[in-house]
């Protein structure tokens, strides 16, 4: 049976449905992530969390949204009005737009043709993600600056420095993925993971760790929430925001979390790929193929509705796992000190990522020269190399030489002193 990509008027219909559906699902996931954060934090602290609105508190996000809409919008008298209003939009939009290039399920066969389960399969995939996720920093900086508030401005400064710093490590850890996949399209990255027979989290374990850490910093989540730092900066860049504009910042933050989770799932955990080759599907030379036979001929894929649903479930589970990780870590680890954040970013993440790019690049070169075929043995060899690198990195990081502040590193050894005073009459 021959499968053709959907075309003509039906392609437009399918595209509209995908855009609408994904926007709805993304907003719902964001809303329920806020609820999940509150419930999970409550469980971690032996509490119940919001459980009053609807069954198990499931209507709480709707109540929160309604409340935000009904609250008064305040604009500080000295604020720069245009930028003050613009900032929440600048945070919100990239968080929602980025999801467009992430494939979320196996292609779906319809009578009119096969529909790719991705909103925009553009050939610059990752670059688009990086470009738009960097845009979010403008919203944060503008929000802090336009508020005309010292704390907001400090938060914005910190956020921008931090996001720019970790973007470097994020991009460098991505480079290994791109080198291994040989492409920047996210559909092809998923396809290469299917062909390799293992998810990139194994052959690129150190890049995975670096990417997860950087993603935490990029999304301004604890332990990297320098931008908010309630105990130091009130709430940083959104101190002056109220009502729906504040909600927009929160939706933006959680939207970034969801997008970052989906991205980590796609890059390192195979995206919508499930174990086994039954779900593999990729457009190759105008044909939807499952893989290549030993003699190089293509094996055609057989997409089906149940495969699409199952792979979507797999994608949702992986994304959900990362969302839970975000929440779990937030309610476990305390905030870094600012100098520690910068030390970790520039002294640990950047050199490690650079060295790892060299290591993986060299390994790929050697493997290609030796002539190891792209497949399980190729992945296993890289896994061995990466495991050594990861163990070394973890051992080094665990000793904390680099994150310990300068004050502690060079602290003078002071002995315990006992000052004795003669007992006075008053005692």
């Amino acid at each position: 049976m021959e499968f053709q990509p959907i075309s003509g008027i039906w392609a437009i219909v399918a595209m509209s449905l995908k855009v609408t559906g994904m926007f709805t699902v993304l907003m719902l996931v964001v809303a329920y992530t806020t609820l999940a954060e509150r419930r999970v934090s409550a469980w971690i602290q032996d509490r119940h969390g919001p459980n009053r609105v609807g069954p198990f508190g499931l209507l709480q996000p709707i109540a929160d949204g309604l409340k935000s809409l009904l609250k008064e919008e305040t604009v500080p008298a000295t604020a720069s009005r245009v930028f003050f209003v613009l900032a929440p939009m600048l945070v919100l939009a990239p968080a929602l737009v980025t999801f467009a290039v992430i494939p979320f399920a196996a292609p779906l066969p319809t009578p009119a043709g096969v529909v790719d389960m991705i909103v925009a399969d553009i050939p610059i995939g990752i670059l688009y993600v990086l470009a738009f996720s960097s845009l979010a920093v403008y919203g944060v900086v503008l929000g802090g600056w336009a508020s005309n508030n010292k704390y907001a401005f400090l938060g914005a400064l910190r956020a921008s420095a931090q996001m720019v710093s970790y973007e470097v490590a994020l991009g460098l850890s991505l480079i290994t993925v791109l080198m291994l996949a040989g492409n920047v399209t996210l559909t092809e990255i998923v396809w290469q993971q299917q062909q390799l027979g293992m998810w990139f989290a194994f052959p690129l374990s150190l890049a995975f760790i670096l990417f997860v850490i950087s993603a935490f910093a990029e999304t301004n989540r604890l332990p990297f929430d320098m931008a908010e730092a309630e105990s130091e900066l009130i709430t940083g860049y959104h101190t002056e925001y109220s009502a729906m504009k504040f909600s927009a910042f929160m939706i933006g933050e959680f939207g970034h979390m969801v997008t970052a989770s989906a991205l980590m799932a796609t890059l390192f955990l195979g995206g919508w790929d499930l174990p086994g080759t039954w779900d593999n599907a990729f457009w190759y030379d105008g044909q939807l193929i499952k893989g290549f036979a030993a003699d190089g001929t293509v094996v055609l894929a057989s997409p089906a509705l149940w495969k699409t649903l199952a792979t979507f479930g797999g994608f949702a589970a992986k994304t959900g796992f990362f969302l839970l990780l975000f929440i779990w870590i937030r309610w476990t680890l305390p905030r870094f000190r600012y100098d520690q954040v910068m030390a970790l970013g520039w002294k640990v993440m950047l050199p490690t990522a650079l060295a790892y790019v060299m290591l993986i690049g060299g390994s790929i070169l050697v493997l290609d020269e030796v002539g190891v075929p792209w497949g399980f043995s190729y992945g296993a060899a890289l896994t061995a190399v990466s495991t050594v690198a990861t163990v070394g990195f973890v051992f080094f990081l665990d000793r904390g030489r680099t994150i310990t502040g300068a004050a502690a590193q060079y602290a003078q050894k002071v002995e315990v002193k006992t000052i004795s005073q003669p007992a006075s009459a008053g005692d």
């Binding site: 469980w43 779990w328 476990t332 665990d398 000793r399 030489r401 310990t404 315990v416 006992t418 000052i419």
Partner: protein, 166 residues
Amino acid sequence: MAISVKVMHRPEPETTSYLRAALSGMALTFKHMVNPAAVTQQYPEEQTDLSPRWRGTHRMEVHADGRPKCVACGLCPTVCPANCIRLVGGEDDQGNRYPVVYEIDEFRCIFCGMCQEVCPVEAIHVGRHFENAEYTRDRFIYDLDRLMEQDHPVTLLWDPSDPRGE
């Protein structure tokens, strides 16, 4: 006396553990997350077991024919340390004394329970009940009818010969 100054050393970089400590913290929070001990009591659904000697909202006992048991002897306003009971006694044509006005200001009341202790006919009681929130302040002055309407269990008085209530 000696004043001692203890200088706290930060742990040496060589002996500190960052990732292991973070991971053990994660394990701890995960243990709590999957098994929340849930010490919170879900109050409106789950009620606390009040002690038998809990002293809360007042209640006036009534005879079978609906009259209050109170004989307006005046002991409870006399003994009340917070002066929250207002009693005006009257006498009917058979010579029985009854309360014409009997009001308790629940705001002034300190719930000591001495009115119940002193009552010779076991008419006024403090009760095992505390949910007496109202929308207006004047609703907190309970008149005789309101005291007679209360139907919560009454407080068990402390018995000096059996201090533990056994």
